[in-house]
């Protein structure tokens, strides 16, 4: 599902953010990506959803070589990927319904179908009563669940979550993890970038450790 071949990534004026990263993630896998701050986790995630292009090497997602993909085709690749951002990226002027609906709107779904689907997903997350609230009225945990709902609402093939449990209390963390596991059971490939050691230890999933832009540990390979 996801393949990286000898990927190098460097930002202008800085050293290498990623060096010679080769990685294969199979369909339906659930993996944790970890490492200290600046290890290259976020850069790797951005390469996966096409926000960055590698300086060298190849990134292949669902059979599509992102490195060679024209910008006009990028939106269609992104529709296969649900991204949960560390800072949630919810639109404060829109309601919960409208925030989650955005993913379906860009795909051209009709209003009725969008409303039905969004309600269904929010209900699964226990958030249906907040459907008409705006994000600023929600707690951090609730905002995170809305961000998850937006990423999952179109049942994407791949889910990328960047620090999805950062700053959340124990209960919210459990809920978020349960949602991601449920999506994985439904068939989505899930990549979670996190610092949260407890989260990794409790899950017993494949773990990739980055350090200084290199993969220094891959539990699957070991």
């Amino acid at each position: 599902m996801i393949q990286l071949h000898n990927v190098f990534m460097s930002y202008q004026g800085d050293g290498a953010a990623l060096s010679n990263v080769t990685l294969k993630i199979n369909k339906g896998e659930f993996i944790f990506l970890t490492g200290v701050s600046g290890a290259g986790k976020s850069t790797l995630m951005k390469l996966l959803y096409g926000a960055l292009r590698p300086t060298r090497g190849q990134v292949v997602i669902d059979g599509i070589n992102v490195t060679k993909l024209p910008s006009s085709q990028l939106p269609f690749l992104r529709r296969k990927i649900g991204v949960v951002f560390q800072d949630f990226k919810l639109l404060p002027s829109r309601t919960v319904l409208e925030n989650v609906a955005l993913t379906l709107e860009v795909m051209g779904w009709g209003k009725k179908d969008i409303n039905k689907r969004v309600y269904h997903v929010l209900k699964q997350m226990g958030m249906e009563h907040k459907i008409n609230s705006t994000p600023l009225r929600l707690s951090g945990g609730e905002q995170q669940r809305i961000a998850l709902a937006r990423a999952l609402v179109n049942e994407p093939k791949i889910i990328l979550a960047d620090e999805p449990t950062g700053n959340l209390d124990e209960e919210s963390r459990e809920k978020v993890l349960a949602i991601l596991k449920e999506a994985n059971v439904r068939g989505s490939t899930v990549v979670v970038a996190t610092h949260d050691k407890r989260l990794i230890e409790n899950c017993h999933k494949r773990l990739i450790v980055l350090d200084n832009g290199r993969i220094v540990e891959d539990s699957d390979v070991a």
Partner: protein
Amino acid sequence: MSRKKAAKRPKLAREGFAGRIHYFVERAFINIRQNLLVTLLTIGTITLAFLILSLSLLIYVNLERVTENWSDRVQVTAYFENDLSPGDLATLKSKIRALEGTGDMRYVSQEEALRTFYGRLKGQEALLEGVSSDILPSSLEIHLKKDSRDSKSIALYVERLKKLPMITEVQYGEEWVKRFSHFMNLVRFAGILVAGFIVLAVVFIVANTIKLTIYARKDELELMGLVGATRLFIKVPFLIEGIVQGFVGAALAILVLSGVYLAFLHNADFFFSFNTMEAGLLFLPVTYLIALLFGGAALGFLGSLASLKRFISL
């Protein structure tokens, strides 16, 4: 691993051109409602900018009318030794009419010239005792067309006129015409300069105001790109918003100007006018109003387009 069937994609809401347009317009108006304060501030700024522009246009239009009134006084007089026979007059008139720039003309007979002279010497008629109309020449007063009222065109016209038979002398107030021509050129130059600066200022203000509103929503633009929106899908509602803001801003400026005009200006004494009977200012012609409205919409559109280019990195 068991994989549940992926979410079935329901019927598209925006199938067909009309469906898409409907969606984009609806989205644009929802965005306006959700960002009401920013939208109102933008419209307010555009209104002020267009008010300055339309007020300048109002002044320009009225100044144009004044100069046009003044230039109506430009007149060429052709003198003849004696009264012309109706036949000669008709022949000469047709020859003059054939000259480029000829407008209306009026024949003043020797008799009429004397009557006018009497009129001017009111109270001192005794001075003209025993004077007959023979001592005054008959003449043709020729008004020139609007385009032929500058000093060069008049000089050329007079040269041609002098070549015609029966005309003994031609007068046209050469010095006055020269000064008037210089004044007109100055007015036009100043008008174009001021209008140029105002238009530049308006374009700058409108484009930057719209840029700020789009900057305020750059997270929205970024997010839409990240969830898979195409460039067109992101841009169109913003462009429609830009058009609406520009159009409404220009329309409000016209409304405010109309209000001010109706309340104060339409019966203001027009001190530039030579004609003391003429009072009041003209309002902007319909073509100008339409141009202002479309100009507002176009500026809104172009301002949005230019700003979106900066913030959409897809």
